[in-house]
């Protein structure tokens, strides 16, 4: 199954031709504590086109959140650049950056803590307008109302209340509403659904899809639930220990992962179906410490297909098929094309 | 660790230096000067000029400061203008008194506040808790100068359990020393009990709401064990921070109690020195107190790291 990617989803039709909105080059983020340095993100590059949704997946602690925060410049990059609509965000002055803020927004991993517990929902959502002094008080109130309505929150009962009076799902929607009030062209969503139960999760994913359709929103969607990522993304990037290991169209990636880590990820997905039989051995071993990552390929310590070369040489990210990049010396696509999986049985 | 110590030492030097300048300026800005006290009624213009020259107080301030601070660095704090006692000796005899007062009062405060808080935090706002709260606030409303005479009337005059006044150093006679310290220590203890009790209680209440307490219960551990081993330690931060500030304030801040109990501690000595414009004594004590304060904060910070491993040094 080589060749062009399968027909993209309904909403990704023009993504490939669309102009690049976000361009990440050689991004490195380091945390320092005392003498120790943790490279949470080590040298990753990717781009996101206008109107596209890029999914970002990977093991817990691999640097997804850090990447997301570096994109919106709340986490300073150690090196590398983030270009947004042609501007290098890292080089902007404080004032210029502040102006750019409205166009690129982030939904934080923990929706509850990203809302000020002491402020009323109405004020929180109106904050972007208040900051920029947009419109009169009444205009703002009207905008807040319509935005709350569109994220499925009743503005009449909710407006006067404070975040802690809402469930996680509602908080998530409120923080989405706030992010959208700024009318961004790009939205970074950091695990917006991981703590939510399936029904709330479904509501939010639908909402994002609607927004994307309505506003042509460009998104980076971070999650660890692969089914969710697949559902929302046009393309998916897989991270492992601070590195980008695979990047492909989502259907393509799920159909035939080229990196052993991606394959292991797919295999570990619990199917909500008691009849489903898993074909792969689950991944074993602990995530190596980012303090001293393994030499060569970082996945080699847990890779079932490891070879000598993996320890000595770091695999570069390269294309195995058009639009499908992988960082592996022995990508699964070349060694043995993965047989198409039997369609999961549904009830 | 070494780097940390070095950094701390650096802080100590800087803070000590700033304080030395401030103290120096402040005492020299005080109205009146030592000649008034020393010469008293013999304060004639002539005598005063002579005395000022004798004491080196006729030099420009910055020179005086320089002379003083360079002596300090060679370990010489000078001597009292009034009694001619060496400042080093005043501090050496006074510091242990403050230290003992602090130890006695704080040990008692902890000994009362901690068990009380451990006892009441499990069932807040119950009668026992209300009684304890009321009681500790009663203590807070009674300043040491009220408590001291009452204690003396009861425990010294009526019961003759403890001496009414006086201080014998520990090295001279440990038993008498401890005997002497009880009442003044208790007079200082009251306010600390209230503050510590309140802080620990409220922190304990928060801690007891933590999941890890339920987790500990789910292991079948006894309530006592949970309070002691699981709840207490994570609840001691405010307590330690408050104790740090409080103990710092007690350093040379015990004037009233030392005055009432006729103890020549630093608190008493520094106030007397201020009243007598005994510059070198004030400066010496203030400097030592400042250094002690920095060291104290160092200890508190260190205790933080002991109590909570998440807190790191640097």
């Amino acid at each position: 199954m080589t060749g062009p990617a399968a027909t993209p989803g309904t909403n990704a039709g023009s993504a490939a031709e669309a102009p690049v909105m976000l361009e990440v080059e050689h991004l490195v983020v380091e945390f320092r504590s005392g003498k120790e340095r943790v490279q949470a993100v080590s040298d990753i590059s990717f781009e996101v086109r206008t109107g596209e949704t890029l999914g970002l997946v990977g093991e817990s602690g691999c640097g997804k959140t850090t990447t997301g925060r570096a994109l919106v410049q709340v986490q300073p990059a150690t090196s590398g650049s983030v270009r947004f609509q042609g501007q290098d965000l890292g080089r902007l002055s404080k004032r210029e950056l502040r102006k750019t803020r409205t166009r690129i927004q982030m939904i934080f991993q923990d929706p509850i803590s990203s809302l000020n517990p002491r402020r009323r929902i109405r004020d929180i959502v109106a904050e972007p307008l208040a900051i920029w002094g947009t419109g009169s008080a009444e205009e703002r109130a009207a905008q807040v109302r319509s935005m709350l309505e569109s994220v499925g929150i009743d503005p009449d009962t909710a407006g006067d209340r404070r975040p802690q009076e809402f469930s996680g799902g509602q908080c998530q929607r409120i923080s989405i509403a706030r992010a959208l009030m700024a009318k961004p062209s790009m939205l970074i969503c950091d695990e917006p659904v991981s703590a939510l139960d399936v029904s709330v999760q479904a509501q939010i994913l639908n909402l994002l899809a609607d927004l994307k359709a309505a506003f042509g929103l460009t998104m980076v969607f971070i999650a660890h639930d692969l089914a969710v990522v697949k559902n929302v993304s046009d393309r998916v990037a897989v991270m492992y220990l601070g590195k980008l290991v695979e990047l492909a169209d989502s259907d393509d990636l799920y159909r035939s992962p080229a990196h052993p880590y991606t394959e292991a990820l797919m295999a570990s997905i619990p199917e909500p179906d008691p009849e489903h039989v898993s074909t792969h051995e689950p991944l074993t071993g602990e995530l190596p410490s980012p303090l001293n990552p393994p030499s060569g390929c970082r996945f080699r310590t847990r890779c079932p297909y490891v070879q000598d070369r993996c320890a000595s040489e770091e695999p570069p990210l390269r294309e195995v098929s058009p639009g499908h990049q992988v960082a592996c010396h022995f990508p699964l696509r070349q060694l043995s094309p993965v047989p198409e999986r039997p369609a999961a049985t549904t009830v | 660790m070494l780097a940390y110590l070095a950094k701390r030492l650096g802080q100590l030097v800087v803070v000590g230096f700033i304080i030395s300048i401030l103290v120096f300026l402040l005492v020299h800005l005080l109205p009146g000067d030592p000649t008034v006290v020393i010469l008293g009624p013999n304060d004639t213009a002539h005598n005063r000029a002579l005395l000022l020259a004798q004491l080196g107080l006729n030099k420009p301030l910055y020179q005086q400061y320089w002379i003083w601070i360079s002596h300090v660095f060679s370990g010489n704090l000078g001597e009292s203008y009034v009694t001619h006692e060496s400042v080093g000796h005043i501090i050496a005899t006074g510091f242990p008194i403050d230290l003992e007062l602090i130890i006695v009062s704080q040990v008692v405060a902890f000994a009362v506040a901690i068990p009380l808080a451990l006892f009441t935090a499990r069932r807040p706002n119950r009668p026992v808790d209300n009684v304890a709260t009321t009681g500790t606030f009663g203590l807070l409303a009674l300043p040491p100068f009220v408590i001291a005479p009452v204690f003396v009337a009861v425990f010294a005059v009526a019961l003759k359990w403890f001496p009414a006044t006086g201080y014998t150093s520990f090295t001279t006679d440990p038993a008498t020393n401890i005997h002497d310290m009880i009442l003044p220590g208790l007079a200082l203890t009251a306010a600390s009990i209230a503050v510590y009790y309140r802080l620990l209680r409220s922190d304990l209440i928060s801690t007891l709401q933590e999941d890890f307490i339920t987790m500990a219960r789910s292991k079948g551990l006894s309530n006592r064990y949970i309070m002691m081993r699981h709840a207490f330690r994570p609840s001691t931060f405010s307590l330690m921070a408050a104790a740090g500030v409080n103990i710092g304030a007690l350093l040379a801040g015990t004037f009233i109690v030392e005055y009432l109990f006729a103890m020549n501690g630093l608190g008493y000595s520094i106030v007397v020195a201020v009243q007598q414009r005994d510059y070198l004594v004030i400066q010496g004590i203030a400097l030592v107190v400042a250094i002690a304060y920095v060291v104290l904060q160092f200890i508190v910070d260190f205790l933080f790291t002991v109590v909570d491993p998440r807190v790191t040094r640097e």
């Binding site: - | 304060d43 006729a262 020549n264 414009r277």
Partner: protein, 524 residues
């Protein structure tokens, strides 16, 4: 023996508390609670208050001392005789007296003592009349004066009469400003921890053979009055010294305590409590205001409030019974007259407004509150100031005050107070003046000169009566009473207020808060 019996016994013998003539016992340690510490033991560089003399009387002996009859008696010296015009006094020392370090008391050491005293910034002023002291022979010195000074022996019963050893003088000259005290006194210095305790032990080689009775004497300064009382009651000290009249009423009549006080002391010049007015500062520069203030004090009420009625109305420097006593004509309580005076003043210069300053002391702040209330009742506006001691002294010296509480003038002889009242020591406000009240009265000056230079006792008495009367006219001082010194001892302490001078005469026992410890003994 129980105190009641001993007190009763004492009364049977002498009629005075604190003076016992029973059989003395040897040994024991007396612990005395006093109100503050000495500032040092070297007479040239310290100034001694009652506590200073308490300590000094243990370590040192004075050249002269006051006897119970008011006469000045030789102590360390054998005799002292003036020349005809009282400008040269020849003193013969008692033979065989040794300092604690074994050195002998001779003419040289006395001369060296005076050289040091004269050179001192502190004591030099008090010895202004003294040209020098010269050695005549090993046991004889001459005091050569600049001017006639008749009451010189009384002057030598003060701080400048206490002789220290050559070793101390040398040590001081050598740069040790705090030399170990070495005297000829009944006790030998043992330890001094300022503001904690002072201890001296029996001098086995004391020249007054048989004395002292005690093995050891310890002084513990306890600054707070009630705590000092509590310490006595709890047995922490055997004797306390106090200025608070409450002490007297509290303990008088209690069989287990003996109380002596200075209220009936008629010798020399007593310690006076008064309000000092700055005669050069408005509104006190107007005599009418000073008069109004004097008339405005409801003295009977005042005495009842403060001295429990013990302190008799005071009209001047000398109490009835003193040889200097006379009716001074000091104004009595007359609110109507006071109001009229204030009214007159107000009409001219506006409401008299002034600060009444005091040190931060519970009793004195109470005094000032009462005075404020009384003076406001006659139409003055009084602000109370609590200022700490050093600043208060400083203010009074330069005249930066209007009215201030003061205690002063205790002296074996009134002449010693010359500088405080002399017109020669007045200076304008802002300049240093020893006449703090800045009262220039030529009549006082003349009387004072007579008082110190006349050898005729009746002239002297007349002179000081004149001073006293003039003060009642000029009103630089509003008398509040005598400072009510008292000592309270538990029943074990004997004879703390009775001392026999070397010549055999009884000495002045309790002298403004101090006493000799030579003949104290302890029972049981």
């Amino acid at each position: 023996s129980s105190s009641s019996s001993s007190t009763a016994g004492t009364k049977a013998q002498s009629g005075t508390a604190g003076i016992n003539h029973g059989t003395p016992k040897r040994g024991g340690t007396a612990i005395i609670g006093n109100d503050a510490d000495i500032d040092g033991f070297y007479p040239p560089s310290n100034h001694w208050d009652n506590n200073g003399f308490l300590y000094a009387n243990c370590i040192y002996d004075p050249l002269m001392a006051v006897a119970a009859d008011g006469s000045i008696q030789p102590y360390l010296c054998k005799s002292m005789t003036p020349n005809a015009d009282y400008t040269v006094w020849t003193m013969t020392l008692r033979p065989g007296i040794q300092f604690h370090d074994g050195s002998a008391l001779d003419a040289t050491v006395v001369k060296n003592n005076y050289d040091a005293l004269q050179a001192s910034l502190l004591t030099g002023l008090a010895l202004k009349f003294l040209k020098n002291v010269t050695v005549v022979d090993s046991m004889t010195v001459n005091f050569n004066l600049n001017e006639p000074y008749v009451p010189l022996p009384a002057g030598l019963a003060t701080q400048v009469g206490y002789m220290v050893s050559q070793s101390m003088i040398d040590a001081e000259k050598g740069g040790n400003s705090n030399p170990t005290p070495v005297g000829t006194g009944p006790f030998v210095y043992s330890s001094w921890l300022p503001n904690n305790h002072f201890t001296a032990v029996r001098n086995p080689h004391y020249w007054r053979s048989g004395y002292p009775y005690l093995d050891q004497i310890t002084f513990r300064p306890i600054p707070d009055h009630s705590q000092r009382v509590a310490t006595l009651q709890s047995g922490g000290v055997d004797l306390i010294v106090s200025t608070d009249p409450v002490t007297i009423t509290q303990f008088q009549g209690q069989s287990s305590y003996q109380v002596v006080d200075s209220l009936s002391d008629t010798l020399g010049e007593p310690d006076m409590s008064f309000i000092m007015l700055n005669c050069l500062a408005a509104p006190m520069d107007d005599l009418r205001i000073r008069q109004a203030l004097a008339k405005g004090i409801n003295y009977p009420a005042f005495a009842k409030l403060f001295d429990s009625g013990l302190n008799l109305a005071t009209t001047g420097l000398f109490p009835p019974g003193s040889k200097y006593f006379s009716q001074t004509g000091y104004p009595t309580y007359d609110p109507a007259a006071a109001k009229a005076l204030v009214k007159a003043y107000t009409a001219e210069k506006g409401t008299p407004t002034f600060d009444l300053a005091t040190v931060t002391d519970a009793r004195l702040t109470r005094v000032t509150q009462v005075l404020q209330s009384m003076w406001q009742a006659i139409g003055c506006k009084v602000n109370l100031q609590a200022i700490e001691q050093a600043q208060l002294i400083s203010n009074t010296i330069v005249g930066n005050y209007q009215a201030v509480t003061y205690e002063q003038f205790a002296a074996p002889d009134p002449s010693i107070n010359y500088v405080w009242w002399s017109t020669t020591t007045v200076a304008p406000v802002g300049k240093i003046a020893l006449n703090f009240a800045r009262n220039s009265d030529p009549q006082i000056e003349a009387a004072l000169v007579t008082g110190r230079s006349s050898s005729n006792p009746s002239d002297v008495i007349a002179a000081y009566q004149k001073v006293n009367e003039r003060l009642a006219v000029d009103l630089p001082y509003l008398w509040l009473g005598r400072t009510s010194w008292s000592a309270v001892a538990d029943s074990r302490i004997q004879n703390f207020a009775g001392t026999i001078l070397p010549g055999g005469k009884p000495g002045k026992g309790f002298d403004n808060g101090s006493f000799f410890s030579t003949q104290i003994w302890m029972e049981g």
